[in-house]
Symmetry: C2
Subunit: 402 residues, 2 copies
Amino acid sequence: MNEQRSIRAKSGANQEGTGAHNRRVIIDALRVNGALSRADLARATGLTKQAVSNLVETLENEGLVASEELVRKGRGQPSTPYRLVAEGAYSIGLQIDRHVSRVIVVDLVGNILARATAKVPPRSPEEGAEVVLDLLAGVRTEFAAGRPDAEARIAGIGVAMPGPFGVEIADDSLWLMQAWQSFPLLDRLAAGTGLAVSLQNDAAACATAERMLGAAHGLDHAVCIYIGYGIGAGLILGGELYSGAHGNAGEIGMVLFGGPDRLTPLEHRASIASLYGVLGIDPADPGQFDKLDALVLGGDRRVGEWIARAAHDLRLAVHTAETLFDPQTVILSSGVPGSLMPRLIAAIEPLRPSLSPTASRTIPRLRLGMTDPWAVAIGAAADPIRRAFDPSFSAILKRQGE
Amino acid sequence: MNEQRSIRAKSGANQEGTGAHNRRVIIDALRVNGALSRADLARATGLTKQAVSNLVETLENEGLVASEELVRKGRGQPSTPYRLVAEGAYSIGLQIDRHVSRVIVVDLVGNILARATAKVPPRSPEEGAEVVLDLLAGVRTEFAAGRPDAEARIAGIGVAMPGPFGVEIADDSLWLMQAWQSFPLLDRLAAGTGLAVSLQNDAAACATAERMLGAAHGLDHAVCIYIGYGIGAGLILGGELYSGAHGNAGEIGMVLFGGPDRLTPLEHRASIASLYGVLGIDPADPGQFDKLDALVLGGDRRVGEWIARAAHDLRLAVHTAETLFDPQTVILSSGVPGSLMPRLIAAIEPLRPSLSPTASRTIPRLRLGMTDPWAVAIGAAADPIRRAFDPSFSAILKRQGE
DNA sequence: ACGAATAAGTCAAGCGATTTGACTTAATAA
DNA sequence: TTATTAAGTCAAATCGCTTGACTTATTCGT
């Protein structure tokens, strides 16, 4: 090898890549717009009718799209709309959280087909991997029952864990799940399941879910602030999930905010961990959400105070995110169901003035996204589908993942 | 037309696009690595020897690359390195600042070939456009003298102005150059020069310059904080300049920082405008930099206090940028020459702990970039070259600019 | 000194995917 | 009833990368 000095260069492209890209563009267009005819697709993508026709035929043979009824909409031959076939692909999501693991199976359009949970021993990843593999195996057999050929259509396993990843010096006040992070979980899962495994942090997973099914559907520039036990932001920049040079972009929970009195990480005042600390709720308690919602609905004073403090910092966080990323919208999502998040978002308003144009704006600056304990698991499951079917720069190049 | 509901889709790709992309990849590799042989290029890009050979032959015929002397480096046939030809393309940069306009001509590798300045009447864009067009015409004739065929090789005019753009409600404390912004300057310049004209804000221009020639050379993830009369950040994310949904990403000068006492936009405490306010220097004074440097070198107390305040806020700004963008490095650039910036950067250190890995790090977390009144103009000139010759997702697609 | 090994680069045919332009089909509008 | 409009197909052309064999030039080992 001639590698005295290592040569850095971007990857070239070839026809195979353009074909793959165009297939993804077709799928993306159907996902965003619903059913479209080949002529519509040709106009929307800039490809020729013939190219689209070939692509659609291939996709139909692969079972990824199917035709609907003829549509007569004026002069000319009626058009045949095509839509995505939900059963065209499946994906497994695995969320490893501090106190619980969740596994979920979704199809190409995001329908949930199976799910299961397990408690994970927090300090033993070896044992935890066994638990998780059992959980996966159970859900897979449940899923496979009555779906003879579905196994081959599983795009992979998406794993979501709290970030940040690869951090050497830990702040003791943050629970970094370091034992999990040093454990080669992905290899173990890949070996144990025979499927491709990918990893993202929980905020990125939530953003992936919001983009596939939620408030960021069809948007190319969005910041998704995820409030879980910790806080992070999933970044959709230029139509792609952005994860930074080391995979830790968007760790807004570590950013210092605060008012006149003090300067603290966002996470210290606006995370569910901080709320649970105030209320004395055990995050391992299965009934935590019911207890919390009772307190919220009961007008508990401590909840009100937490909301006020959290909203203050989040207002700054939204301002910072808007100013730095200039997104189409900011989405606030959470794993906490019920009435907490609507009250929190109401307390954040009114937002600080923003730079972005207001007159031409059709999307609200701040929107409530999913408030569902399964949001991250859904996003984890969406990740393999995104990787396999969404248009992206790297997917068009010869060597992937650059 | 069948446009009842507008259909959104990403653009398809074709062979023409892959060819264009591969040409850009070759040029980029030569820019980042210096001279490379065809075999080196083939290995680095993942393309075949034959594909690279054809591309290099085309580029050589177009006058963009040229061969160097044979290199014997071991067994096997000696290789022929190719390098970029400086005279292969030219570009014009125009910086419109609050008190001065600068025009500069650079070549493909960033050599400065001509430059000129003019005072711009700040409140009259019509008159200002005339001044700028005269300036451009003068520099163009100076540049064309002795370069017979160079005119046809001008990639375009890059314009840099202070942002943000398209803002409706202005904060009176910020000088937004609104009169300039509502004026159709780009059209006027395009009509008056017959060249393609593009626009970016001054921080983005500075980042473009740092990436082509400076501290971000060859990096794909960098945040470039530009301290000029105002403050902004140019973002290089995933190998491309990121400008957000409305072109205003990176406006870090508007972000609220501050310590226990108060919360103010970064710009209020760390911009040159704030320093000049303290020192009573007139930003329209041609001798401003000499006066400032004398005060800095003379140990002026007010300068020391400003540095302390600015460094405090900038330390927070760097922390925020590192946490949200997870870049390879943060670069601090300025239009102010002399000893101010080295002292400021020294005052910012030590940085707050970061999430990014420290063991594997080869690039410093914070680096001093250009400190040159011409930095933004150079970046403005680099923009047309970037658009024409750098690999990017949009350049591979059929319809550009999405 | 000489042959083997190694590597750069070329040649010519092949191939994959889009494009082109003509054509067919089917509906509405006049 | 006919012209017009639009969807979709057919077959050939084209573009750019790939493949595999080949040539050339240099160093290494004996």
